[in-house]
Subunit: 446 residues, 3 copies
C-alpha cells in the first residue's frame, strides 16, 4: 500500500529519529538533540535519492514499451508506435502536473477524488525537512507511473488506431482516469481506508492500463484480416531483438518501479526491504520466463520467444501488488502463475476475437488481477474479500469511463484508420516516414 507505506515511511523516520535521540541520551532526552537533526537530514537525502533513482528507472520503461511495441508490430506501423510512445510519455508528464498529481494525492481524505489544479514543486534550495523528501522527487516518481499506464494502452491498439484520438484518450487517461482511480488507494482514499493492498500497482497501474486498453480494443475492433473464417491470421512482429530489448528495459525499470515504491530509504529497515523487493521481483520474472518456455515447448513443440518475453512481464506484473512480503518460494510461485496466465490468456483473447497486438491485456490486466488477488497469501494485513472489492472497483470504473471516452471519440473525430490506410500502414498514412525505408517491402507484405 503505497499511501500507507508513505505515511509509514515518514512515521518510521520520526520514530527512528526519536529512537536515535533516545539512544543518544541514556537518561533525560531533549527532542531537538543533534542526532535527531542529523538523522532526519540524511534520511531526507536518501528518501529523495530513492525517488530520483526509481524515477529514472521507471522513466526508462517508456523506452522499454516503445521498443517492445516497435518490435511486435509490422514494419509498416513501426514509426507510428515510436511516435505514440514518445508523445504519450510527454503528455503524461504535462497532464500529471496540470491536474494529475493533485487529483490523486491532495485532499482525498478517505474519499473518491483529490483536488484540481497544477502541482507546485519545492522552492529552489528547499529546506522543508519535515516532509521527509523533496516534493519534486515524489512528483517525478509518481508521474512516471502515470506514464506507464498510458504505455500499456498503446500496444494493444497498435496498427489500426489513428494518432490523434489515441493522444486525446491519453490526455484523459493521464490527467483524469488514472489519477482519480489512484486516489482511492495511494491518495489515501476510500479503498485504502478499507484495507485494500496494492504495493506498487498491479491494479492501480497495470490493470487500469489493461482495462483502458480492453475498452479501446472492443470499440476499435480487430485489425483487418486478423480473424478470418479460416481462423486467426498471424501477423508476426517486425523485430524480435527490439521486442527483447524492450522486455529487458522493462525488467530493469521494474527494480525502480517496485523497489522505490517502498517510498523511503533512510533507515536500514527500509533499504533492507528494498533489497528483498529487488530479489523477489527478479525471482517472479525469472519464474515467469521459465514457466512460459517450458509450457510453450510442451504445448506447441517449439518455444515461442514472444511468450518468454511476455512471461517475464507477467511475472513482474504479478509480483507488483506485493513484492515485499512474499518469501522467495512464494515469489517464484506468484511469478510462475503469471507465466501460465500469459500462455493461456493470449490464445483465449484471440478466441474472443479481441485483438491485442502485443499481449498487453494478458500481461497487464489478467496478471495484474492475479497479483492483486494473491496478496493475502503473504501479507496478513490484506484479505481476499477486500482485494476483490478493489479489483472490481478499479475494473468497473476504468472500463466504463474508458468505454465512454472511446465511444465519444469514435462518434466525433473517429478513432480508426481507414481500410486503405491500415493496408498501407500508418507510417505512410499518418507519419509520412517509414521506419525502415530500405528494408523489405514492409507496406506491401502481410
Amino acid at each position: 500500500m503505497k499511501a500507507t507505506l508513505k505515511l509509514a515511511g515518514t512515521a518510521s523516520l520520526a520514530l527512528l529519529a526519536a529512537a536515535g535521540a533516545a539512544l543518544a541520551q541514556d537518561t533525560a532526552a531533549a527532542p531537538e538533540a543533534p542526532q535527531y537533526a542529523l538523522a532526519s537530514e540524511t534520511a531526507y537525502i536518501f528518501n529523495t535519492l530513492l525517488f530520483l533513482l526509481g524515477g529514472f528507472l521507471v522513466m526508462w520503461m517508456a523506452a522499454g514499451f516503445a521498443m517492445l511495441e516497435a518490435g511486435m508490430v509490422r514494419a509498416k506501423n513501426v514509426s507510428m508506435q515510436c511516435l505514440k510512445n514518445i508523445t504519450l510519455y510527454s503528455i503524461a508528464g504535462l497532464m500529471f502536473w496540470i491536474t494529475g498529481y493533485n487529483l490523486m494525492y491532495t485532499g482525498v481524505d478517505g474519499g473518491y477524488i483529490g483536488s484540481f489544479g497544477p502541482y507546485a514543486f519545492d522552492a529552489v534550495g528547499g529546506n522543508a525537512l519535515d516532509t521527509g523528501y523533496s516534493t519534486a522527487s515524489d512528483w517525478f516518481f509518481q508521474m512516471v507511473f502515470c506514464a506507464t499506464t498510458a504505455s500499456i494502452v498503446s500496444g494493444t491498439l497498435a496498427e489500426r488506431i489513428r494518432l490523434w484520438p489515441f493522444l486525446a484518450f491519453t490526455v484523459v487517461l493521464t490527467g483524469f482516469i488514472y489519477p482519480i482511480a489512484g486516489s482511492w488507494q495511494w491518495g489515501a482514499g476510500w479503498l485504502n481506508g478499507m484495507g485494500f493492498s496494492d504495493f506498487a500497482g498491479s491494479t492501480l497501474v497495470h490493470s487500469v492500463g489493461g482495462w483502458a486498453a480492453l475498452a479501446g480494443a472492443l470499440v476499435l475492433g480487430a485489425r483487418t484480416g486478423k480473424y478470418t473464417a479460416n481462423g486467426v491470421h498471424p501477423m508476426p512482429g517486425s523485430s524480435m531483438p527490439l521486442a527483447t530489448l524492450g522486455t529487458f528495459i522493462l525488467w530493469l525499470g521494474w527494480f525502480g518501479f517496485n523497489g522505490a515504491s517502498q517510498l523511503a530509504m533512510g533507515t536500514i529497515g527500509d533499504v533492507t526491504d528494498i533489497s528483498r523487493i529487488f530479489a523477489n521481483t527478479n525471482m517472479a520474472a525469472a519464474a515467469g520466463v521459465v514457466v512460459a518456455v517450458i509450457l510453450t515447448q510442451v504445448l506447441y513443440k517449439k518455444v515461442d520467444v514472444t511468450m518468454a518475453l511476455n512471461g517475464a512481464l507477467a511475472g513482474l506484473v504479478s509480483i507488483t501488488a506485493e513484492p515485499l512480503a512474499p518469501s522467495v518460494w512464494q515469489a517464484v510461485f506468484i511469478g510462475a502463475v503469471g507465466g501460465v496466465i500469459v500462455v493461456f490468456a493470449v490464445p483465449l483473447l484471440d478466441k474472443l476475437k479481441i485483438d491485442d497486438v502485443v499481449g498487453a491485456i494478458p500481461v497487464h490486466l489478467v496478471a495484474g488481477i492475479w497479483g492483486t488477488l494473491i496478496v493475502p497469501l503473504s501479507n496478513s494485513d490484506a484479505t481476499y474479500s477486500v482485494q476483490i472489492i478493489g479489483i472490481v472497483a478499479y475494473g468497473v470504473f476504468t472500463f466504463v469511463i474508458s468505454l465512454v471516452v472511446w465511444l465519444i471519440l469514435k462518434s466525433t473525430i473517429g478513432i480508426r484508420a481507414s481500410a486503405e490506410e491500415e493496408a498501407l500502414g500508418l507510417d505512410k498514412a499518418e507519419v509520412g516516414i517509414e521506419a525502415y525505408p530500405e528494408f523489405g517491402q514492409g507496406s506491401q507484405r502481410v
Copy 2:
C-alpha cells in the same frame, strides 16, 4: 553556473556542517565537534555518489547518440556511425585525461586557459575530506560532458566524412577546444567572472558541439545529390526505432547531465534542487515533443516522427542552461520554444544548403543559444547582455578554431570520401563490414 555552484556546493557543505555543529552544541561550540566530521563524511559520499550516478547516465548518452545517428543515416553508412561513436567516446576519455581536465579546471584564475598535463586521480583509499568529493568522480563526470560535445559533431557530418580526419578533429576538440572554451566559465575563467550563466552546458557543451559541427559542414559540403536543381532530395534514415531508442537514451541520460550538474547532494537543499531539475528537465522535453507534434501536423498534415524526437532533444538542450530556477510554467515555455526552433530551423538549414544529417545544428546549436539567452527570465543573477557576450564568445572561438582545424585537415589528409566511396557507402569503403548484410540493398539504393 557549474563552477560557481561547485564552489557554492562546497561552501554550503561547510556552512551546513558548521550549522550542524552549532546546533549540536547549544552554547559553546568546538568546530571539530563530532557532528561536523560526520556530516562532512556523509556529504562527501553523497556528493561523490552524485558524480558517479550522473557520470554513468551521461556516459550512456554516448550510446544514445550512436543509436540516434545509426537510425538517421542510410543503411550503407550505419557501421561507420557505430564505429565513430564508440571511438570518439574512447578518444574523449583519453584526451580529457591527457590534457582536457587540467586545461579546463586547473589554474584558470579568471583567465582564458588552465594548465597543461595529465590529470591525477585520488590515491587508493583517498581520505581528503576537505575537497568534499572524490576527484576521480569529478573527472569522470566532466569527461562524459566532453564526450557529449564530440558526439554532436559526429551526426552532422555523417555519410560523407572519412573516418580518420573525423577522429583527428575529435582529438583536437576533446583535448583542446572544448576544455579551453570550458575553462572560461566552469573553470572559473573570465566569463564566469563577468557573471555568465550556463548551468549544465547549453552553450559550453551543446553550442560548442554545434559550432564545431557547423564549421565542419561548411568545409565538408553537402552529401552528393542532397541539394539538386529540383530542390532538396530526401535521404531518409534507415531505422526509426533506433533513432527513437537513441532519443530515449539521451532523455534518460539528461537527468544525469542536468541533475548532477548541481555538483553536490550532501544537503537537503542540494538534493531538493536536483529534484526540481529532474522535473523541469522532463517538462521542457515533454513540451518540446508536444509542440513539434502539433506544429508538424498543422504545417505538413502529417506528424514527422523525427521532428518529435528532435523536439524532445531541443527541449532538453533549451532547459540545460538553467534547469533549476524556472518555475514549471517557465520550463514548459522554454522547452516549447525549443520545439518550435527545431521545426523551423531544420528546413531553414536545408534552404541554406547546409547538410546536417541528424539535425544536430538546430537541436544543439540553435536551441542551445535560445536556452542560454533565456536564463535571465528565471535567474535574476544573469543578465541578457552578459549572456549574449558569452554566446558570442563561445561561438566565435569555437567556430573559428574549428574552421581552421577542418581546413588544415582538408588541405592535408583530406576529409571527404570520394564520390565513389560515398555512393558505395562508407561501410564498404572504410569499415569493410556492412551494418545489415542480409537486408535490402543498402548500398544500391538512394
Copy 3:
C-alpha cells in the same frame, strides 16, 4: 579480492565507526556512543545501495549480451539468441538461489566448496545492523555475476547449438560450476588463502565463462561451412547497430561490475576507491578501442567495427582483475594490451578452427587471463606465481567439468542442430518465430 574486500569493508566500517565514536568523546568513550550507531546505520544504507545500484547495472549487462549476440549472428538465428539470453538470465536467478549462493559463500572456510541449500534473505524490515549491508542486496549483486558467466557461453555456441541442451548446461554452470569455482576465491576458499587476487572477476567470471564456452565449442564443432578448403568463410552478423548497442550496454554495466565490487560505500575511502575504479575501467576500455581501431587499420587497411567493439570489451575484461590499484597509465596499458589480444586472438581461433561466433573466447578467456596475470604490476599484495596457480586452477576445473557435462549432454539428448535445421536457421527450427519476418531472406542467404 572480493571476499577479502568484503571483510575489509565491514572491518573498516567498524574501525571507522569506532574512530567516530572515539572522536565523539574527547576523553572517556562509551563504545555504544550515539555516533557509532548513526555511522553504522548510514554506512549500512550506503553499502546496500551500492549493491542495488551495482546489481541493476550488471543485470542490464544481460541485455547487453543479448543485443551483442543478436547483432553478431545471422538473421535466421536472432530470435534464438534472444530467447537463450532471457532464459539463461532467468535460470541463473533461480539456480543462484537454489544452490549457487550457499555453495559459493557459506561455510567454505578455506576449502573447495560451500554448503548446499537455498539462500534465505533478510526478514521484512530486517534490522541486522552488524552485517553491514542487506543480505538480499548482496545476493542480488552476486547473482547477476553468475548470470554474466552464462551469457558468455551463449555467444560462442550460437547458430548451431540446440536450445534445451544449452539450457541444461546453463543449469549446471550457474547452479554448480560457477559457484563452486567462485568459492575458492570470493567465498574465502583455498585460493583466497594463498593470496590469489581477482577483484571483480577477470578469472572468476570471464575466464570461467570463456573456458566453459571453449569446451562447448570443441564438443559442438564449427558451424557448417565455416571452415572450408578455401579458408574461413565469413558469416557476417545481421546488425552492427545492435552489436554496438550491446557493447555500450556492457560498458555501462561494467561500472557496476567493477565499481560495486568494492563491496562498501559507507566511508569516504570506499567511495573514493569506487571513483578510481570508474575512471580506470573507462580508461582501459577506451584504450582497448583505440588500439583495436589503429591495429585493424594498419593490418587490414580498413577499421573493423566488430574489432573496435571487442576491443572495448577486452579492455574491460583486462582491467577487471584489478581496477583499483593501477595508475591511469597502467590502466591504459592493461586495456591496450586487451585490444591487441583481440585483434590477434580472433583470427588465431579461426586458424585453430574453433568457431566462436561473437569472439567471446578472445574477449573473456584470453583477456581475462591477461588481466589476472598482470595484477602484480600494480598490486603488490599479489604475486605472479599465485596468479598463475589461480588461472590454471580455474582453467583446469572449469574446462574439464564443462567438457564432461557437454559430452554427457551430447551422448544423451544431443547438443547440435541437424544440418537441415542449421541451414534453415534455429529461429524456424526451434523457436517458430523469425526475428525479422519482413526483411531480406534471412534463412535463404549465407
